[in-house]
């Protein structure tokens, strides 16, 4: 999407939020908070996609990486009785799953989409098989209210009164943007994703950088999974991630492979879902619940169809690197 349209859309949304705020303060704040919470796993998962694809590797396995991490994070926290430990277990599991993709897609040069699909199917199978009922968490992660900032009307209660994962997702997006576009690591990563042969000639270890990036990106998928289990839901169910890993890939494309763009795209996604749910709950629109459930998926397809051709992915994405 061109920048001009993004600004126009953003302006319209902000204006709409302000008008809504003066009409109904409580509902507006509740819809916005919902939107942000809905966006958190999408933001984190989109960052996974961005790191991988900027390095030239398609990660269709984010869904499975998140599912496995949510599983491990939940049972880790429930068994040890420690949420921090559970989160770390989730992140570690995500990195292991990221390592799987790195071995398949980078070391073995498998078809990257098949490698990711194997991760998804394996995660679905393992988490369903190992799932056990009767475990409960010691609690959910606390909400942290930032003094003073949280007192600002509208912005305060939405942005500065959140769980730790929510802050983490926003900070990670901003930091990743800086890393990608302002550091040597970022330059190398982008060059490996755009023109690996040139990167190789200039002395960058293409395979090694791809391997490391894909593995560490898995840690972010782990964080997203841990968020779902430990902060958003406080539980784990089979098939818990509900396609968020795939939606995140669409958000990555919609955000033009830019961390900040993807963050706003994810929040926009959350906003549509929040507004639709609120309208349905208030019985303003008599939409059957199934259509509200469909919304994120329909929106994904519509947005992809709308933006494709206008933005292009990293040039070498999906192609294993072969030295000439």
């Amino acid at each position: 999407m061109s920048a001009r349209w993004a600004y126009i859309l953003g302006g319209v949304i902000v204006a709409g939020i302000v008008v809504a705020f003066f009409m109904d303060e409580i509902r507006t704040v509740s819809v916005l908070s919902f939107s942000l919470r809905y966006a958190v796993p999408l933001i984190l998962a989109a960052m996974v996609g961005i790191i991988c694809e900027r390095s030239g590797v398609i990660n269709i396995g984010i869904e499975g990486q998140m599912l496995m991490s949510a599983f491990a994070g939940f049972f880790g926290a429930a068994i040890t009785g420690n949420l921090i430990l559970g989160t770390l277990i989730g992140i570690g599991t995500g990195m292991i799953m990221g390592g799987f993709l790195a071995v398949g897609a980078v070391t073995w040069k498998m078809d990257q989409i098949i490698a990711g699909t194997i991760i998804n199917i394996l995660a679905t199978g393992l988490t369903s098989f190992l799932y056990a009922q009767g475990y409960v968490l010691p609690g959910v992660t606390p909400t942290v209210r930032i003094p003073l900032l949280a007192d600002i009307p509208l912005v305060g209660p939405v942005l500065f009164n959140n769980g730790l994962f929510t802050y983490a997702a926003i900070i990670i997006s901003i930091v990743l943007w800086g890393l990608l576009f302002r550091t040597i690591w970022g330059l190398r990563t982008r060059s490996v994703g755009e023109k690996p042969s040139a990167a190789d000639t200039s002395g960058i270890g293409v395979q090694r950088l791809r391997f490391v990036n894909v593995t560490f990106a898995g840690g972010l998928a782990g964080l997203a999974g841990a968020y779902l289990a430990l902060e958003a839901a406080g539980t784990f169910e089979r098939g818990f991630t509900a396609g968020r890993g795939f939606t995140a890939l669409a958000i990555m494309i919609f955000g033009a492979w830019n961390p900040l763009g993807a963050m706003f795209a994810a929040i926009f996604f959350g906003l549509t879902q929040g507004v639709a749910s609120q309208l349905q709950a208030d019985e303003v629109l008599a939409i059957p619940p199934q259509f509200v459930n469909m919304l994120p998926y329909v929106l994904t397809i519509v947005l992809l169809a709308a933006v494709s051709g206008r933005i292009s992915p990293p040039a070498a994405v999906g192609k294993p690197y072969e030295k000439d």
């Binding site: 078809d111 194997i118 394996l122 369903s128 098989f129 059957p288 994904t300 292009s312 192609k319």
Partner: protein, 371 residues
């Protein structure tokens, strides 16, 4: 347009290079899937053993109940029928360079379509049955065509759209079965039962739907290798640039391949409705689409090999419930075994062990991504 790799559809399980002939290299490619399946069973056996059950006993229960009685055999054939067809759906897509992960959604749409056609008309069986099956196939084809058209004309990755269409289909059929197509005066969300004239008969113990699926698989074994359309599919899958220079419409072929793929999955749903369940209920048939991927890759994108691959998966699925009843092992162990099979057959692990080749040529099925 990306550069094309001549070996694009070989999916990472390349046949042995004839120039480097070791002792095992002469054994045909069938060895790889067989060894992968056996290894997956061994790993599954360890999981079963860790749960405190003798794995040999568990596998004996699994297979003897599925294959040891005529009821068991019927169940295996019924379970395998949609699997053959979803396996074929994925296969046809792969041949044309498309990765259709949406067989599940296409199957659901086909199943609900066939259910509607099955109860809404009163006509003789000779007309009703084919009409209901074809209507289910058309529903599946239409559903998949959304992804096909977007891929061909808007360059949107079919991988994402077919997955999204799965989730949309699940919500859509749930809505259809609970509102417009709901059986009146019924607490459950389900369609009315299909008419007698739309029910698939059985030949002795062999369900006619199974026969139909086998015939379709054989047909595609011929179609993909011996017909011009099949040749177009393969050419577009192997090298879209060459296809374009040869005057083949790449976009048209992509749309057609996706529609055929969806029609096959839709047929799987239609046969399930008309031959097994007799009506549509949203809860049935979870996860069949993923099994289709496993089957297609196990069969190495060969339509005829999809039959034994589907029978294997169908046997496991049919025996899973008995396994839980007799030994207390969760039926999801089958999912793990199948996932490991897929891992072993698609990743170059077993191939390396068998063929000891240093440079395995790895490839991409999907050429374009995002743009």
């Amino acid at each position: 347009m990306t550069t094309t790799d001549p070996a694009r559809t070989d999916l990472g399980f390349t046949d042995p290079d004839p120039r480097r002939s070791g002792p095992l290299d002469r054994i045909p490619g069938i060895l790889l899937p067989i060894v992968s399946v056996l290894l997956a069973f061994a790993i599954g056996g360890i999981l079963i053993w860790l749960q405190g059950v003798n794995p040999f006993y568990a596998y004996w229960v699994l297979f003897s109940n599925a294959l040891g009685s005529s009821e068991g055999l019927i169940r295996v054939m019924e379970k395998s029928t949609p699997l053959i067809l979803t396996g074929l759906a994925v296969t046809v897509g792969l041949r044309a360079g498309l990765f259709n992960i949406g067989a599940q959604g296409q199957l659901l749409v086909g199943a609900v379509g066939a259910a509607w056609a099955g109860y809404a008309f009163t006509v003789p069986a000779i007309i009703h049955l084919p009409v209901a099956i074809i209507f289910g196939m058309l529903c599946g084809a239409a559903w998949a065509s959304i992804a096909g058209v977007l891929r061909a004309y808007r360059s949107v990755s079919e991988v994402i759209t077919t997955i999204m269409l799965n989730s949309i289909a699940i919500a859509l059929v749930d809505y259809l079965a609970s509102r417009p197509l709901k059986e009146p005066d019924q607490p459950l969300s389900r369609t009315p039962a299909i008419a007698e004239s739309a029910a698939l008969p059985s030949f002795g113990i062999i369900p006619s739907g199974f026969v139909l699926a086998v015939i379709v698989a054989l047909f595609f074994g011929w179609f993909l290798v011996r017909t011009t359309s099949g040749f177009r599919f393969n050419t577009v899958g192997l090298n879209p640039n060459a296809a374009r220079y040869a005057g083949i419409s790449v976009k048209g072929t992509i749309v057609l391949a996706m529609a055929v793929s969806g029609a096959l999955a839709g047929m799987g749903g239609a046969i399930e409705t008309l031959g097994v369940t007799g009506r549509f209920e949203p809860a049935f048939n979870a996860g069949l689409g993923f099994d289709g991927i496993t089957i297609a890759l196990l069969a190495r994108a060969n339509p005829i090999a999809a039959i034994p691959a589907a029978l294997l998966v169908g046997t496991l699925r049919a025996g899973a419930a008995t396994l839980q009843f007799e030994t207390g092992i969760e039926p999801e162990v089958v999912d793990v075994i199948l996932a490991i099979t897929l891992l072993l057959v698609a990743a170059p692990i077993v191939a390396r062990l068998l063929f000891r080749r240093r440079a395995m040529k790895q490839t991409t099925v999907t050429s374009r991504w995002g743009s």
